[in-house]
Protein backbone atom coordinates (compact mmCIF):
# COMPACT_ATOMS: atom_id res chain seq x y z
CA UNK A 1 0.00 0.00 0.00
CA UNK A 2 2.36 2.65 1.26
CA UNK A 3 5.15 2.34 -1.23
CA UNK A 4 7.97 4.82 -1.39
CA UNK A 5 5.89 6.99 -3.65
CA UNK A 6 3.54 7.77 -0.78
CA UNK A 7 6.41 9.15 1.33
CA UNK A 8 6.55 12.85 1.99
CA UNK A 9 8.73 14.68 -0.44
CA UNK A 10 8.48 12.42 -3.42
CA UNK A 11 5.00 13.77 -4.14
CA UNK A 12 6.43 17.23 -4.60
CA UNK A 13 9.34 15.97 -6.69
CA UNK A 14 8.45 15.62 -10.37
CA UNK A 15 5.77 12.92 -10.46
CA UNK A 16 7.14 11.61 -13.73
CA UNK A 17 10.24 10.36 -11.90
CA UNK A 18 8.26 8.10 -9.61
CA UNK A 19 5.98 7.10 -12.48
CA UNK A 20 8.99 6.09 -14.52
CA UNK A 21 10.42 4.16 -11.62
CA UNK A 22 7.11 2.41 -11.13
CA UNK A 23 6.93 1.52 -14.80
CA UNK A 24 10.45 0.13 -14.76
CA UNK A 25 9.61 -1.92 -11.70
CA UNK A 26 6.49 -3.29 -13.31
CA UNK A 27 8.38 -4.26 -16.44
CA UNK A 28 11.02 -6.02 -14.35
CA UNK A 29 8.35 -7.98 -12.50
CA UNK A 30 6.67 -9.02 -15.72
CA UNK A 31 10.00 -10.23 -17.10
CA UNK A 32 10.68 -12.25 -13.96
CA UNK A 33 7.21 -13.78 -14.04
CA UNK A 34 7.58 -14.72 -17.70
CA UNK A 35 10.91 -16.42 -17.10
CA UNK A 36 9.52 -18.33 -14.15
CA UNK A 37 6.59 -19.52 -16.23
CA UNK A 38 8.89 -20.58 -19.05
CA UNK A 39 11.12 -22.44 -16.61
CA UNK A 40 8.21 -24.31 -15.04
CA UNK A 41 6.68 -25.27 -18.39
CA UNK A 42 10.08 -26.25 -19.74
CA UNK A 43 10.69 -28.55 -16.78
CA UNK A 44 7.28 -30.18 -17.16
CA UNK A 45 7.73 -30.69 -20.90
CA UNK A 46 11.18 -32.19 -20.41
CA UNK A 47 9.81 -34.47 -17.70
CA UNK A 48 6.97 -35.62 -19.94
CA UNK A 49 9.35 -36.17 -22.85
CA UNK A 50 12.16 -37.90 -20.97
CA UNK A 51 10.09 -40.30 -18.90
CA UNK A 52 8.29 -43.33 -20.29
CA UNK A 53 7.86 -47.10 -20.09
CA UNK A 54 11.05 -49.04 -19.45
CA UNK A 55 13.20 -50.20 -22.38
CA UNK A 56 11.39 -48.04 -24.92
CA UNK A 57 13.67 -46.35 -27.46
CA UNK A 58 14.12 -42.63 -26.85
CA UNK A 59 13.14 -42.84 -23.18
CA UNK A 60 15.72 -41.55 -20.71
CA UNK A 61 14.15 -42.46 -17.36
CA UNK A 62 11.83 -45.25 -16.33
CA UNK A 63 8.47 -43.75 -15.48
CA UNK A 64 8.05 -46.30 -12.70
CA UNK A 65 10.38 -44.12 -10.66
CA UNK A 66 9.43 -40.63 -11.62
CA UNK A 67 6.05 -40.93 -13.30
CA UNK A 68 5.02 -38.34 -15.88
CA UNK A 69 3.01 -35.08 -15.66
CA UNK A 70 0.13 -36.50 -17.69
CA UNK A 71 0.01 -39.59 -15.49
CA UNK A 72 0.03 -37.42 -12.38
CA UNK A 73 -2.81 -35.43 -13.87
CA UNK A 74 -4.70 -38.68 -14.54
CA UNK A 75 -4.16 -39.74 -10.94
CA UNK A 76 -5.60 -36.49 -9.71
CA UNK A 77 -8.61 -36.90 -12.03
CA UNK A 78 -9.11 -40.46 -10.85
CA UNK A 79 -9.10 -39.36 -7.21
CA UNK A 80 -11.57 -36.63 -8.03
CA UNK A 81 -14.01 -39.04 -9.64
CA UNK A 82 -13.49 -41.50 -6.80
CA UNK A 83 -14.37 -38.59 -4.53
CA UNK A 84 -11.30 -38.91 -2.29
CA UNK A 85 -9.25 -35.91 -3.40
CA UNK A 86 -11.21 -33.02 -1.96
CA UNK A 87 -12.15 -34.89 1.18
CA UNK A 88 -8.49 -35.69 1.82
CA UNK A 89 -7.38 -32.14 1.12
CA UNK A 90 -10.07 -30.84 3.39
CA UNK A 91 -9.22 -33.26 6.17
CA UNK A 92 -5.51 -32.47 6.09
CA UNK A 93 -6.12 -28.76 5.77
CA UNK A 94 -8.68 -28.60 8.54
CA UNK A 95 -6.63 -30.59 11.02
CA UNK A 96 -3.47 -28.62 10.24
CA UNK A 97 -5.19 -25.28 10.66
CA UNK A 98 -7.05 -26.36 13.77
CA UNK A 99 -3.87 -27.68 15.36
CA UNK A 100 -2.04 -24.54 14.31
CA UNK A 101 -4.66 -22.34 15.93
CA UNK A 102 -4.70 -24.32 19.17
CA UNK A 103 -0.90 -24.42 19.32
CA UNK A 104 -0.67 -20.71 18.55
CA UNK A 105 -3.21 -19.81 21.21
CA UNK A 106 -1.38 -21.87 23.81
CA UNK A 107 2.01 -20.51 22.77
CA UNK A 108 0.73 -16.94 22.91
CA UNK A 109 -0.81 -17.30 26.35
CA UNK A 110 2.09 -19.14 27.96
CA UNK A 111 4.68 -16.97 26.20
CA UNK A 112 2.92 -13.83 27.36
CA UNK A 113 2.52 -14.97 30.96
CA UNK A 114 6.15 -16.02 31.29
CA UNK A 115 7.27 -12.95 29.33
CA UNK A 116 5.77 -10.55 31.83
CA UNK A 117 6.73 -12.66 34.86
CA UNK A 118 10.51 -13.06 35.01
CA UNK A 119 10.15 -15.05 38.23
CA UNK A 120 7.78 -17.62 36.74
CA UNK A 121 9.90 -17.64 33.60
CA UNK A 122 13.04 -18.66 35.43
CA UNK A 123 11.12 -21.46 37.19
CA UNK A 124 9.61 -22.90 34.02
CA UNK A 125 12.35 -22.26 31.50
CA UNK A 126 14.40 -25.45 32.06
CA UNK A 127 11.28 -27.61 31.88
CA UNK A 128 10.15 -26.01 28.65
CA UNK A 129 13.62 -26.37 27.18
CA UNK A 130 13.67 -30.04 28.15
CA UNK A 131 10.26 -30.71 26.62
CA UNK A 132 11.24 -28.79 23.52
CA UNK A 133 14.27 -30.98 22.97
CA UNK A 134 12.19 -34.18 22.77
CA UNK A 135 11.96 -35.25 19.11
CA UNK A 136 8.26 -34.74 18.61
CA UNK A 137 7.82 -37.83 16.43
CA UNK A 138 8.86 -39.93 19.41
CA UNK A 139 5.64 -38.80 21.04
CA UNK A 140 3.38 -40.21 18.33
CA UNK A 141 2.95 -43.62 20.02
CA UNK A 142 1.98 -41.87 23.24
CA UNK A 143 -0.43 -39.55 21.46
CA UNK A 144 -2.05 -42.57 19.81
CA UNK A 145 -2.37 -44.23 23.17
CA UNK A 146 -3.93 -41.14 24.73
CA UNK A 147 -5.99 -39.69 21.93
CA UNK A 148 -6.67 -42.68 19.66
CA UNK A 149 -5.71 -43.00 16.02
CA UNK A 150 -8.31 -40.47 14.92
CA UNK A 151 -8.02 -36.71 14.67
CA UNK A 152 -6.96 -36.38 18.31
CA UNK A 153 -3.45 -37.77 17.95
CA UNK A 154 -2.86 -35.71 14.78
CA UNK A 155 -3.93 -32.52 16.50
CA UNK A 156 -1.69 -33.35 19.44
CA UNK A 157 1.34 -33.72 17.20
CA UNK A 158 0.64 -30.50 15.32
CA UNK A 159 0.03 -28.62 18.56
CA UNK A 160 3.23 -29.97 20.09
CA UNK A 161 5.17 -28.64 17.12
CA UNK A 162 3.48 -25.25 16.83
CA UNK A 163 3.25 -24.49 20.55
CA UNK A 164 6.97 -24.30 21.23
CA UNK A 165 7.84 -22.17 18.22
CA UNK A 166 5.08 -19.67 18.97
CA UNK A 167 5.92 -19.78 22.66
CA UNK A 168 9.57 -18.89 22.15
CA UNK A 169 8.70 -16.12 19.70
CA UNK A 170 6.10 -14.59 22.01
CA UNK A 171 8.28 -14.94 25.08
CA UNK A 172 11.22 -13.22 23.40
CA UNK A 173 9.01 -10.49 21.97
CA UNK A 174 7.30 -9.74 25.26
CA UNK A 175 10.59 -9.63 27.18
CA UNK A 176 12.01 -7.31 24.55
CA UNK A 177 9.38 -4.60 25.12
CA UNK A 178 10.73 -1.15 25.90
CA UNK A 179 10.21 -0.45 29.61
CA UNK A 180 9.98 3.24 28.86
CA UNK A 181 6.86 2.65 26.76
CA UNK A 182 5.26 0.62 29.55
CA UNK A 183 5.98 3.35 32.08
CA UNK A 184 4.60 5.97 29.77
CA UNK A 185 1.30 4.10 29.61
CA UNK A 186 1.28 3.65 33.38
CA UNK A 187 1.83 7.38 33.85
CA UNK A 188 -1.29 7.86 31.72
CA UNK A 189 -3.14 5.77 34.28
CA UNK A 190 -3.50 2.73 32.09
CA UNK A 191 -4.34 -0.40 34.05
CA UNK A 192 -2.43 -3.66 33.77
CA UNK A 193 -4.65 -4.96 31.00
CA UNK A 194 -4.46 -1.86 28.81
CA UNK A 195 -0.71 -1.55 29.27
CA UNK A 196 -0.23 -5.04 27.86
CA UNK A 197 -2.93 -4.91 25.21
CA UNK A 198 -1.86 -1.52 23.87
CA UNK A 199 1.89 -1.88 24.20
CA UNK A 200 3.26 -5.31 25.05
CA UNK A 201 1.33 -7.37 22.53
CA UNK A 202 1.64 -5.00 19.57
CA UNK A 203 5.32 -4.52 20.37
CA UNK A 204 5.82 -8.28 20.34
CA UNK A 205 3.95 -8.70 17.06
CA UNK A 206 7.07 -8.69 14.91
CA UNK A 207 8.43 -11.62 16.89
CA UNK A 208 5.10 -13.40 17.09
CA UNK A 209 4.47 -13.18 13.37
CA UNK A 210 7.88 -14.65 12.62
CA UNK A 211 7.04 -17.49 15.02
CA UNK A 212 3.80 -18.07 13.14
CA UNK A 213 5.37 -18.09 9.71
CA UNK A 214 8.07 -20.51 10.83
CA UNK A 215 5.66 -22.89 12.53
CA UNK A 216 2.92 -23.05 9.89
CA UNK A 217 4.91 -25.17 7.38
CA UNK A 218 5.97 -27.40 10.28
CA UNK A 219 2.32 -27.82 11.21
CA UNK A 220 1.62 -29.24 7.75
CA UNK A 221 4.67 -31.51 7.98
CA UNK A 222 3.52 -32.79 11.37
CA UNK A 223 -0.01 -33.41 10.15
CA UNK A 224 1.06 -35.29 7.02
CA UNK A 225 3.59 -37.32 9.00
CA UNK A 226 0.91 -38.30 11.48
CA UNK A 227 -1.39 -39.32 8.64
CA UNK A 228 1.35 -41.41 7.08
CA UNK A 229 2.07 -43.18 10.34
CA UNK A 230 -1.50 -44.06 11.19
CA UNK A 231 -4.54 -43.03 9.33
CA UNK A 232 -7.09 -43.89 6.75
CA UNK A 233 -7.71 -40.30 5.76
CA UNK A 234 -5.94 -37.23 4.49
CA UNK A 235 -3.23 -36.49 1.94
CA UNK A 236 -0.64 -38.36 3.98
CA UNK A 237 -2.80 -41.44 3.78
CA UNK A 238 -3.26 -41.09 -0.02
CA UNK A 239 0.49 -40.75 -0.31
CA UNK A 240 1.34 -43.80 1.73
CA UNK A 241 -1.40 -45.88 0.08
CA UNK A 242 -0.12 -45.00 -3.41
CA UNK A 243 3.42 -45.85 -2.49
CA UNK A 244 2.47 -49.20 -0.96
CA UNK A 245 0.66 -50.03 -4.21
CA UNK A 246 3.71 -48.91 -6.22
CA UNK A 247 1.41 -46.37 -7.81
CA UNK A 248 4.04 -43.69 -8.56
CA UNK A 249 1.70 -41.19 -10.26
CA UNK A 250 -0.35 -41.20 -7.04
CA UNK A 251 2.74 -40.48 -4.96
CA UNK A 252 3.62 -37.53 -7.18
CA UNK A 253 0.02 -36.34 -7.23
CA UNK A 254 -0.09 -36.31 -3.43
CA UNK A 255 3.23 -34.49 -3.24
CA UNK A 256 2.02 -31.91 -5.74
CA UNK A 257 -1.16 -31.29 -3.79
CA UNK A 258 0.84 -30.93 -0.55
CA UNK A 259 3.16 -28.47 -2.23
CA UNK A 260 0.23 -26.33 -3.34
CA UNK A 261 -1.25 -26.50 0.16
CA UNK A 262 2.06 -25.45 1.67
CA UNK A 263 2.34 -22.51 -0.68
CA UNK A 264 -1.25 -21.45 0.03
CA UNK A 265 -0.67 -21.56 3.79
CA UNK A 266 2.53 -19.56 3.49
CA UNK A 267 0.75 -16.98 1.38
CA UNK A 268 -2.02 -16.58 3.89
CA UNK A 269 0.44 -15.99 6.70
CA UNK A 270 2.32 -13.44 4.59
CA UNK A 271 -0.94 -11.65 4.00
CA UNK A 272 -1.60 -11.57 7.72
CA UNK A 273 1.93 -10.32 8.31
CA UNK A 274 1.75 -7.44 5.88
CA UNK A 275 -1.54 -6.38 7.40
CA UNK A 276 -0.36 -6.61 11.00
CA UNK A 277 2.94 -4.88 10.28
CA UNK A 278 1.54 -2.27 7.89
CA UNK A 279 3.02 0.46 10.11
CA UNK A 280 6.58 -0.62 9.38
CA UNK A 281 8.56 1.51 6.96
CA UNK A 282 9.04 -0.43 3.77
CA UNK A 283 12.59 -1.06 2.65
CA UNK A 284 12.98 -0.90 -1.10
Amino acid sequence: MNTVTAKPGSATVAPSVSALARQARRRRRAAILLMQLALAIGALVFWEWAAGPRNTPGILIDEFYISRPTLVWDALRRWTTEGVLWISIYYTFETTVLGFIIGTAMGLVVGFILGVNPFLASIFQPFINALYSIPRLALVPLFMLWFGIGIGSKLALVVSVVFFLVFFATFTGVKDVDQELLNKLRLMRANWWSVHMKVTLPAATTFIISGLSISLPYALVAQVTAEMLSSNRGMGYLLIRSSSQFYTPGVFAAITVLMVMGVALTWSIQLLESWLLRWKPKAH
Binding site: D178, E180, N183, K184, L187, M188, A190, S194, T205, K280
Partner: protein, 262 residues
Protein backbone atom coordinates in the same frame (compact mmCIF):
# COMPACT_ATOMS: atom_id res chain seq x y z
CA UNK B 1 -8.23 20.34 44.91
CA UNK B 2 -5.74 20.55 47.69
CA UNK B 3 -5.67 23.72 49.72
CA UNK B 4 -3.98 26.59 47.95
CA UNK B 5 -1.18 26.70 50.48
CA UNK B 6 0.32 23.30 49.63
CA UNK B 7 3.14 23.48 47.09
CA UNK B 8 2.62 21.38 43.98
CA UNK B 9 6.02 19.78 44.19
CA UNK B 10 8.86 19.84 46.69
CA UNK B 11 12.37 18.50 46.38
CA UNK B 12 13.87 18.13 49.85
CA UNK B 13 17.63 17.65 50.14
CA UNK B 14 17.69 15.38 47.14
CA UNK B 15 20.75 13.40 46.22
CA UNK B 16 20.51 10.87 43.46
CA UNK B 17 23.22 8.51 42.36
CA UNK B 18 23.24 5.95 39.60
CA UNK B 19 25.12 2.71 39.94
CA UNK B 20 27.58 3.03 37.13
CA UNK B 21 29.52 -0.20 36.81
CA UNK B 22 31.52 -0.53 40.04
CA UNK B 23 31.33 3.10 41.08
CA UNK B 24 28.37 5.18 42.04
CA UNK B 25 27.80 8.24 39.96
CA UNK B 26 26.21 11.24 41.68
CA UNK B 27 23.81 12.79 39.17
CA UNK B 28 22.31 15.48 41.39
CA UNK B 29 23.12 16.59 44.91
CA UNK B 30 21.66 18.99 47.44
CA UNK B 31 18.54 19.83 45.47
CA UNK B 32 16.16 22.08 47.43
CA UNK B 33 13.31 23.30 45.31
CA UNK B 34 9.66 24.13 45.82
CA UNK B 35 7.35 24.38 42.85
CA UNK B 36 4.24 26.43 43.51
CA UNK B 37 0.78 25.48 42.33
CA UNK B 38 0.07 26.83 38.88
CA UNK B 39 3.64 27.93 38.38
CA UNK B 40 5.51 27.84 35.08
CA UNK B 41 9.00 26.78 36.10
CA UNK B 42 11.82 26.63 33.60
CA UNK B 43 14.97 24.60 34.14
CA UNK B 44 18.15 25.32 32.27
CA UNK B 45 21.69 24.01 32.53
CA UNK B 46 24.52 22.25 30.74
CA UNK B 47 24.05 18.81 29.27
CA UNK B 48 24.25 15.98 31.79
CA UNK B 49 23.62 18.14 34.85
CA UNK B 50 20.54 16.24 35.93
CA UNK B 51 17.58 18.10 34.44
CA UNK B 52 15.90 14.97 33.12
CA UNK B 53 16.72 13.25 36.40
CA UNK B 54 14.76 15.96 38.19
CA UNK B 55 11.70 15.33 36.03
CA UNK B 56 12.02 11.54 36.40
CA UNK B 57 12.00 12.04 40.17
CA UNK B 58 8.81 14.10 39.93
CA UNK B 59 7.14 11.40 37.82
CA UNK B 60 8.19 8.71 40.29
CA UNK B 61 10.05 6.85 37.56
CA UNK B 62 13.09 6.90 39.83
CA UNK B 63 13.35 7.50 43.55
CA UNK B 64 16.02 9.58 45.23
CA UNK B 65 18.95 7.93 46.94
CA UNK B 66 18.61 10.51 49.70
CA UNK B 67 15.93 13.04 50.51
CA UNK B 68 12.25 13.11 49.59
CA UNK B 69 10.10 14.32 46.76
CA UNK B 70 6.68 15.57 47.87
CA UNK B 71 3.78 15.99 45.48
CA UNK B 72 1.01 18.11 46.96
CA UNK B 73 2.40 17.37 50.37
CA UNK B 74 2.65 13.61 49.94
CA UNK B 75 5.79 11.65 49.32
CA UNK B 76 6.08 10.26 45.79
CA UNK B 77 6.49 6.50 46.27
CA UNK B 78 5.17 4.77 43.15
CA UNK B 79 4.48 6.40 39.82
CA UNK B 80 3.00 9.87 40.03
CA UNK B 81 0.04 9.54 37.68
CA UNK B 82 -0.95 13.16 38.21
CA UNK B 83 1.77 14.28 35.87
CA UNK B 84 1.85 14.26 32.11
CA UNK B 85 5.41 13.74 30.92
CA UNK B 86 6.74 14.81 27.54
CA UNK B 87 10.00 12.88 27.66
CA UNK B 88 13.20 13.95 25.98
CA UNK B 89 13.35 10.73 23.98
CA UNK B 90 10.57 10.06 21.52
CA UNK B 91 8.28 7.33 22.83
CA UNK B 92 5.46 7.22 20.32
CA UNK B 93 4.03 3.82 19.51
CA UNK B 94 5.28 3.05 15.98
CA UNK B 95 2.28 0.89 15.14
CA UNK B 96 -0.21 3.65 15.79
CA UNK B 97 -0.81 6.62 13.52
CA UNK B 98 -0.16 10.09 14.90
CA UNK B 99 -3.84 10.59 15.66
CA UNK B 100 -4.15 7.21 17.37
CA UNK B 101 -1.04 7.95 19.40
CA UNK B 102 -2.61 11.17 20.58
CA UNK B 103 -5.84 9.41 21.46
CA UNK B 104 -3.98 6.75 23.48
CA UNK B 105 -4.23 8.42 26.91
CA UNK B 106 -7.93 9.10 26.33
CA UNK B 107 -8.48 5.46 25.36
CA UNK B 108 -6.85 4.08 28.47
CA UNK B 109 -8.82 6.52 30.60
CA UNK B 110 -12.09 5.36 29.10
CA UNK B 111 -13.10 8.58 27.35
CA UNK B 112 -15.99 7.84 24.96
CA UNK B 113 -15.07 7.59 21.30
CA UNK B 114 -16.94 10.63 20.01
CA UNK B 115 -15.36 12.92 22.58
CA UNK B 116 -11.99 11.34 21.93
CA UNK B 117 -12.13 12.12 18.24
CA UNK B 118 -13.09 15.70 18.88
CA UNK B 119 -10.36 16.34 21.43
CA UNK B 120 -7.68 14.65 19.33
CA UNK B 121 -8.59 16.73 16.33
CA UNK B 122 -8.48 19.91 18.34
CA UNK B 123 -5.06 19.22 19.80
CA UNK B 124 -3.62 18.11 16.47
CA UNK B 125 -4.83 21.36 14.99
CA UNK B 126 -3.19 23.22 17.85
CA UNK B 127 0.22 21.72 17.09
CA UNK B 128 -0.34 22.09 13.36
CA UNK B 129 -0.61 18.40 12.54
CA UNK B 130 -4.28 18.01 11.65
CA UNK B 131 -3.34 17.05 8.09
CA UNK B 132 -0.86 14.41 9.18
CA UNK B 133 -3.01 12.57 11.66
CA UNK B 134 -3.16 9.35 9.67
CA UNK B 135 0.59 8.97 9.24
CA UNK B 136 2.67 6.49 11.15
CA UNK B 137 5.62 7.82 13.19
CA UNK B 138 8.04 6.38 10.63
CA UNK B 139 6.47 8.75 8.10
CA UNK B 140 6.84 11.89 10.21
CA UNK B 141 9.75 14.31 10.45
CA UNK B 142 11.64 14.86 13.69
CA UNK B 143 9.75 18.05 14.48
CA UNK B 144 6.42 16.40 13.70
CA UNK B 145 7.29 13.58 16.09
CA UNK B 146 8.03 16.13 18.81
CA UNK B 147 4.73 17.87 18.21
CA UNK B 148 2.82 14.59 18.23
CA UNK B 149 4.41 13.69 21.57
CA UNK B 150 3.43 17.10 22.88
CA UNK B 151 -0.15 16.72 21.63
CA UNK B 152 -0.35 13.30 23.27
CA UNK B 153 0.21 14.86 26.69
CA UNK B 154 -1.74 18.07 26.17
CA UNK B 155 -4.82 16.15 25.08
CA UNK B 156 -5.60 14.70 28.49
CA UNK B 157 -4.91 17.85 30.48
CA UNK B 158 -2.91 16.48 33.41
CA UNK B 159 -2.62 18.74 36.47
CA UNK B 160 1.14 18.92 36.21
CA UNK B 161 3.13 18.98 32.99
CA UNK B 162 6.72 17.76 32.86
CA UNK B 163 8.28 18.81 29.60
CA UNK B 164 11.80 17.87 28.62
CA UNK B 165 12.91 20.08 25.75
CA UNK B 166 9.58 19.78 23.98
CA UNK B 167 10.50 22.33 21.32
CA UNK B 168 14.05 21.09 20.80
CA UNK B 169 13.94 20.07 17.15
CA UNK B 170 11.74 22.86 15.83
CA UNK B 171 12.48 25.84 13.66
CA UNK B 172 12.25 29.33 15.17
CA UNK B 173 8.87 30.14 13.70
CA UNK B 174 7.11 26.96 14.72
CA UNK B 175 8.81 27.14 18.06
CA UNK B 176 7.43 30.56 18.78
CA UNK B 177 3.91 29.65 17.77
CA UNK B 178 4.03 26.59 20.03
CA UNK B 179 5.45 28.64 22.88
CA UNK B 180 2.50 30.96 22.49
CA UNK B 181 0.02 28.08 22.39
CA UNK B 182 1.52 26.48 25.45
CA UNK B 183 1.40 29.71 27.45
CA UNK B 184 -2.17 30.19 26.36
CA UNK B 185 -3.23 26.70 27.41
CA UNK B 186 -1.38 27.02 30.68
CA UNK B 187 -3.08 30.36 31.35
CA UNK B 188 -6.50 28.78 30.81
CA UNK B 189 -6.05 25.47 32.63
CA UNK B 190 -3.92 26.67 35.54
CA UNK B 191 -1.64 23.66 35.24
CA UNK B 192 1.75 23.53 36.88
CA UNK B 193 4.57 23.24 34.38
CA UNK B 194 8.18 22.08 34.75
CA UNK B 195 9.84 22.99 31.51
CA UNK B 196 13.39 21.91 30.67
CA UNK B 197 15.11 23.79 27.89
CA UNK B 198 18.56 24.53 26.49
CA UNK B 199 17.45 27.91 25.29
CA UNK B 200 17.92 30.72 27.80
CA UNK B 201 15.67 33.12 25.89
CA UNK B 202 12.89 30.59 25.93
CA UNK B 203 13.37 29.96 29.64
CA UNK B 204 13.07 33.64 30.54
CA UNK B 205 10.20 34.36 28.14
CA UNK B 206 8.11 31.42 29.29
CA UNK B 207 8.87 31.02 32.99
CA UNK B 208 7.66 32.53 36.21
CA UNK B 209 11.01 31.40 37.52
CA UNK B 210 14.15 30.05 35.91
CA UNK B 211 16.20 27.44 37.74
CA UNK B 212 19.83 27.39 36.63
CA UNK B 213 21.67 24.13 37.05
CA UNK B 214 25.38 23.59 37.42
CA UNK B 215 27.28 20.41 36.71
CA UNK B 216 29.63 18.06 38.58
CA UNK B 217 27.61 17.18 40.51
CA UNK B 218 24.28 18.42 39.19
CA UNK B 219 23.05 21.15 41.54
CA UNK B 220 20.99 24.31 41.53
CA UNK B 221 23.23 27.36 41.34
CA UNK B 222 20.57 30.02 40.99
CA UNK B 223 16.82 30.59 40.95
CA UNK B 224 15.67 33.66 39.08
CA UNK B 225 12.27 35.28 39.55
CA UNK B 226 11.07 36.58 36.22
CA UNK B 227 8.89 39.57 36.93
CA UNK B 228 7.63 40.16 33.37
CA UNK B 229 3.88 40.64 33.48
CA UNK B 230 1.46 38.27 31.70
CA UNK B 231 0.19 37.81 29.10
CA UNK B 232 3.58 38.23 27.51
CA UNK B 233 4.30 39.44 24.02
CA UNK B 234 7.06 37.05 23.08
CA UNK B 235 8.36 39.20 20.24
CA UNK B 236 8.32 42.62 21.87
CA UNK B 237 9.81 41.32 25.10
CA UNK B 238 13.05 40.32 23.44
CA UNK B 239 13.91 44.00 23.12
CA UNK B 240 12.68 44.83 26.63
CA UNK B 241 15.55 46.01 28.88
CA UNK B 242 14.26 43.90 31.77
CA UNK B 243 14.52 40.85 29.55
CA UNK B 244 17.97 41.67 28.22
CA UNK B 245 19.42 42.43 31.63
CA UNK B 246 18.02 39.17 33.01
CA UNK B 247 19.38 37.34 30.01
CA UNK B 248 22.85 38.80 30.51
CA UNK B 249 22.91 38.05 34.20
CA UNK B 250 21.82 34.42 33.74
CA UNK B 251 24.13 33.96 30.80
CA UNK B 252 27.10 35.03 32.90
CA UNK B 253 26.13 32.26 35.37
CA UNK B 254 25.51 29.69 32.67
CA UNK B 255 28.40 30.27 30.30
CA UNK B 256 31.19 29.13 32.64
CA UNK B 257 29.16 26.00 33.43
CA UNK B 258 28.89 25.08 29.79
CA UNK B 259 32.51 25.75 28.86
CA UNK B 260 33.84 24.19 32.07
CA UNK B 261 32.63 20.79 31.00
CA UNK B 262 35.21 18.57 29.38
Amino acid sequence: MASAGVPQLEYKSIRHQFVDGERDFVAVDGIELTVRQGEFLCIIGPSGCGKSTLLNLAAGLIHPTEGTVLYRGEEVRGLNTDVGYVTQRDTLLPWRTAARNVSLPLEVQGVPEAERKERVEKVLELVGLHKRGNRYPSQLSGGMLKRTALAQILVYEPTTLLMDEPFGALDAQLRMSLQRELLEIWGRKSQTVLFVTHDLEEAILMGDRVVVFGANPGRIIHVEDVSLERPRDLVALRADPRFTSTWERLWSLLAPQITEKE
